[in-house]
Symmetry: C2
Subunit: 217 residues, 2 copies
DNA sequence: GGTATAGAAATTGGCGCCAAAATTGGTTAC
DNA sequence: GTAACCAATTTTGGCGCCAATTTCTATACC
């Protein structure tokens, strides 16, 4: 696919963020400004600005006089990010269920299906994009925009999905099943089930038999 | 007061952020680069970089070819920020209580007392600093650093305390009392009480009679 | 043969200058 | 007297150049 000619500064940081998340740049890799210039067809200053923004978001680390390299989250940080995501996504579950219209649910089913289809036919990058699309649509249903923003930002801080999360085909397929289960929970108006499924999805715990007990918090 | 000669770039953004929060720059005010240059004794480029960082943190807004102005959070956003803070700070309460040593509690008492003393003797800015110090020490007890970072950043996004939160002397005194109550809850090892007090502190609800029922989530 | 050192190439990062755009103030026409 | 228009000043923002620092390479010495 061709690189779109969209040289907006803010957009460059986003594009680079996506590429980092998608695993185009390996963790720890040094990002040389000249390379980025040619790769994104951007001016030197835009590259520098984008790198500063990414450094502020902790996606890259800045070492004075050495440059910027892709940040490698240690285990502790990864675990902490998961914990915060767990807190916030479960907190958002209520309003997601409350706000979802029939059209929203249909759209989510389409996105979940697209992800499922791409397991066989698509590349890992396609899969990554489809996953992002599903979760974007899902989160957009929440009523608290600040919460959504933070979650979106937080998603970038964890380890990139293709590299560490989707290690095995089985794991990807489980993710896909979880997507469908989440949609069904929303369709059923069952916020508690959505919370439970979201927690499993983030923590990547093994699939449970359908539980009926009400465990709050 | 003299401006310290600390021209670290990242630090400049923080100093400006503090000044915005403290109300030095009125909401909506245009921040002219030359003024900032002289005020902070910084180079033009540092100012620009700091402004970009603040724009990314949503503390200022950037209008192309017009400049940067202090962001005015609308009511909806302010409410949403409060909601997220509520979720996260109550979530942190558990580990705060668990981690607090006797020395920590003593330190918190000192900081709460300093705030109380400054109600009479200090300026509004002193009060602001003391409040920050208390909450910094409090949050630092949490074990999840990511959560602490987000909360700290979130604090900047809400309306500045002196301008909108501490409207009346009575309100400030209630805040001070709540500080002490929070310390006592920690000393007693009562996470539930700390959660409740934190919620009240953020929402600025009226003081309740000491409740005993267990209301989770 | 391996290591240390010096020189060369490359990379980052800062500074100043200048053009484009906007605001201000004054002047003129209606 | 008011409104519109035009000129002058101010302000932002981009571009290119160059210095400081680091990394790579080749040579010499142990």
């Amino acid at each position: 696919m061709s690189v779109k000619a969209d040289p907006a500064t803010g957009n460059l940081a986003d594009r680079m963020a996506r590429d980092i998340q998608a695993g185009v740049f390996a963790p720890g890799m040094w990002l040389k400004q000249v390379d980025l210039e040619t790769r994104y067809e951007a001016k030197r200053m835009e590259v520098r600005r984008a790198l500063d923004q990414l450094a502020l978001k902790r996606l890259v680390r800045h070492v004075p006089n050495r440059g910027y390299h892709v940040h490698v989250p240690d285990d502790r940080q990864a675990e902490e990010v998961r914990e915060v995501r767990l807190i916030l996504e479960t907190a958002a579950a209520g309003s997601i269920v409350a706000n979802a219209t029939a059209a929203d649910i249909a759209a989510l089913r389409v996105l979940a299906q697209r992800f499922a289809d791409l397991i066989l036919e698509g590349t890992l990058l396609d899969l990554y994009e489809a996953n992002i699309a599903f979760h974007a649509k899902l989160l957009a249903l929440g009523s608290n925009r600040e919460l959504i923003n933070i979650l979106w930002e937080l998603r970038g801080r964890g380890p990139s999905a293709p590299v560490t999360q989707w290690k095995t085909r089985a794991r990807i397929e489980q993710s896909s099943r979880e997507h469908f289960h989440m949609v069904e929970a929303i369709a059923a108006g069952d916020a508690g089930a959505l919370r439970r499924l979201t927690a499993d999805h983030i923590l990547q715990t093994e699939e449970r038999p359908p539980a009926h007990e009400q465990d709050g918090a």
